[in-house]
């Protein structure tokens, strides 16, 4: 593992450099907005990465809550399977779909949810799944911060304002605040129940993710329409650059999560050892 990490870090740095070159040089200039549209190549991949990380945080939190109870664990696994199956048969049940939605994308998303749930279940034990939840929330907040900063930097020259209390923007801000409060709870709460409280908060917090994502489908909003599905459209060359940038940010997020995960594991081991030492010290003093 120690040898793989530097190699992956080098590859990711190369990919990020290539993605930057694609975004600044190769991507065509948008006709009405000009070069400022290129902010999109950082803003959108950061948003997608943040959503994915918050979603992993949700799955990890659910598993942390249910794994202590065998029946609850089985029910949650059943629900995960039902989501995958339900998404596949949605084609025959839901007709017509809201504008811009496709049966293929619903089935893919549903199956991805099921697959991700069982991958996490298989790879992470009970304490590790709590670490995974903490790490993905932290890195997700970093990416969400990028979204909230780059959005106004695009809006100022295009809309003429930095911010508006539109549903997409407001729900994203609320999402960021929920996960910041999650991290503050984990950092400052001294209760032994903190991981359980944090997991419960994460499960409810994750409900905001679909609201953010689908807000531009179902509500009238100032935010541009989605570029995949929905009412928006995009030049294929721009789409290629967007996907390269998303891949680069996904690799970067994976590496950051990996380092943070290893750090958190060691930190918990150290804290455990320090607690044991603190327990043993008074006894040795008495003896």
């Amino acid at each position: 593992m120690k040898r793989v990490f530097p190699l992956l870090a080098l590859l990711t740095a190369g990919l990020l450099g290539y993605a930057l070159y694609q975004a600044l040089v190769v991507a065509p200039t948008e006709r009405t907005m000009g070069d400022v549209q290129r902010i999109f190549y950082y803003h959108v991949p950061s948003a997608w990465t943040a959503f994915l990380l918050f979603f992993i945080n949700f799955l990890a939190s659910v598993q942390f809550l249910v794994r202590t109870n065998e029946t609850a664990d089985r029910v949650a696994s059943g629900v995960a399977i039902a989501i995958g199956v339900g998404a596949c048969i949605a084609e025959f049940v839901i007709r017509p779909l809201p504008a811009g939605m496709h049966h293929g994308s619903i089935a893919t998303t549903g199956l991805a949810v099921t697959a991700l749930y069982f991958v996490i279940h298989k790879l992470f034990s009970e304490p590790s799944v709590d670490i995974l939840a903490q790490v993905t929330a932290e890195v997700g907040v970093v990416f969400c911060t990028v979204v909230l900063v780059t959005g106004p930097l695009w809006a100022r020259p295009v809309w003429g304002i930095w911010w508006t209390w539109d549903i997409r923007l407001t729900s994203t801000l609320v999402l960021w605040l929920i996960y910041v409060s999650y991290l503050l709870l984990r950092k400052f709460s001294t209760s032994g129940e903190t991981p359980v409280l944090a997991a419960a908060l994460a499960v409810f917090g994750a409900l905001d993710v679909p609201l953010v994502y689908f807000s531009i489908w179902f509500f009238r909003t100032q935010h541009p329409q989605p570029v995949i599905g929905g009412g928006g459209s995009i030049d294929p060359r721009m789409m290629r650059v967007l996907m390269i940038n998303w891949l680069a940010f996904l690799c970067f997020a994976f590496l950051v999560c990996w380092s943070r995960y290893r750090l958190e594991r060691v930190q918990r081991d150290v804290e455990e050892t320090q607690a044991l030492e603190a327990l043993l010290e008074p006894r040795s003093a008495v003896q």
Binding site: I39, Y42, V146, L153, P157, Q267, V270, E277
Partner: protein, 39 residues
């Protein structure tokens, strides 16, 4: 164009700041491990 460069610069500033906090935590942890070994 300034807004574009500002957005890209801020993005990397945020990521590098976060990586900086990870490095700081890593160094603190190394010190704590060294102290535990000393004890």
């Amino acid at each position: 164009m300034n807004y574009l460069y500002a957005a890209y610069a801020v993005t990397w500033l945020i990521h590098i700041s976060y990586l900086g906090t990870l490095v700081r935590r890593h160094n603190r942890l190394k010190r704590e491990i060294a102290e535990l070994k000393k004890d």
